[in-house]
């Protein structure tokens, strides 16, 4: 859970990018790292624990310090999980202390089963941490919209966002940086709203 430090007036928030393998989670972080406007020193290094073929092995990690709001320094820590099915224990470890989630779905038709399996896996892993997806701010990103064989957004909404409360969703082509910042700004907004509106925030 987020750290709200009264002594130093700092708010630290953990956002995890989740989704099926090769869906574009790491690409999202790379694009944020490459294109975000920050003042000097407010963007940390992008750390990737990846295999020699650039598949995420443990996680990617990008710390960014955003603007100060009324004296509160806001620090965001962006993580990705490894998408491959065998790395489930690792995904559980990365989810520990999560505040917000970006689910990155692959829009290609043949990836729909993997998308649904990954989403179900997310819910199961949260349960193992005694968390419930409905209590955590999350957004869905339909990535790879520039490819020719993509499923209609309505169909993907039906598969992944067909719940009592629908969450914000975005189309994207992460490798062109399209939709990346829109997604990040929305999850940021939802998180800050949660912190302000909840009567007993987590800890400081």
């Amino acid at each position: 859970m987020a750290i709200i430090n009264q002594a130093t007036k700092e708010l630290q928030v953990k956002i995890v990018y989740y989704g099926p393998a090769m869906g574009g989670k790491t690409t999202n972080l790379v694009q944020v790292h490459d294109h975000v406007q920050t003042t000097a020193g407010n963007k940390g290094k992008l750390v990737s624990l990846a295999t020699s073929s650039d598949r995420t092995l443990f996680f990617d990690f990008l710390p960014i310090e955003a603007m100060s709001i009324n004296g509160f320094k806001t620090k965001f820590q962006l993580y990705t999980v490894p998408g491959q099915v065998i790395y489930n224990t690792t995904r559980q470890l990365v989810l520990r202390g999560v505040d917000g989630i970006v689910f990155v779905a692959d829009s290609q038709y043949e990836k729909m089963t993997e998308n649904v399996e990954s989403f179900t896996n997310l819910e199961e892993n949260l349960k193992s941490l005694k968390l419930n997806l409905s209590d955590i701010p999350y957004v869905i990103q339909y990535n790879k919209r520039d490819l020719p064989n993509v499923a209609p957004v309505e169909y993907m909404e039906f598969l992944l966002n067909n719940r009592e409360v629908q969450v914000p969703s975005f189309t994207s082509s992460a490798h062109k940086c399209e939709g990346v910042f829109e997604t990040l700004n929305m999850i940021t907004r939802m998180l800050l709203h949660k912190f302000v509106s909840q009567s007993t925030p987590q800890y400081a």
Partner: protein, 159 residues
């Protein structure tokens, strides 16, 4: 999921005092208190030489991964990780359910000394966190000063 208590200035001061004493006793370079989710809570010593934010994220990940491995071989008594280096070594020890104490020290410094003094330091840190918890267990934090009406451009893309 239960969380850490609110930490006020007095708590942070006490935690820093503990870290300062630990560095004095061990001749270690830097000490950090980190949350098991990867956040840096407090640090003391040489904080310029290292990227502490990233170290906190990776050290907590490495500790949790090692703990999981230990569980897989039915080891239930797991509470520390030692990384031996040629220039700097690192010792990570569990403080309580939520926190870890990470100590970075030069290779010439004896790991035995670090382990010896880290144990009571971790205990004191745990006690301070406990004190903070008991002070006001249900305490909330007024974040009404945060104006979140317009965060559309919280992160801006370079053009």
């Amino acid at each position: 999921m239960a969380t850490l208590p609110q930490l006020i200035e007095e708590d942070i001061q006490r935690l820093e005092d503990e870290l300062r004493e630990l560095l004095k006793q061990t001749d270690a370079t830097t000490a950090l208190i980190i949350d098991k989710g990867g956040f840096l809570i407090s640090s003391y010593g040489d904080t310029r030489q290292f990227d502490l934010t990233t170290i906190a994220a990776l050290a907590s990940g490495a500790f949790m991964a090692n703990q999981t491995i230990a569980n897989l071989v039915h080891e239930t008594n797991f509470d520390n990780v030692y990384q031996q280096g040629q220039k700097h070594s690192m010792f990570v020890v569990c403080v309580d359910e939520f926190c870890l104490l990470t100590i970075i020290f030069r290779a010439e410094v004896s790991v035995g000394v670090v382990k010896y003094f880290a144990a009571p330091c971790a205990k004191s840190i745990a006690e301070q966190l406990q004190t903070a918890q008991q002070r006001d267990p249900g305490a909330g934090l007024d974040l009404s000063v945060l104006n979140v009406a317009d965060t559309a451009d919280f992160f801006k893309r370079k053009r």
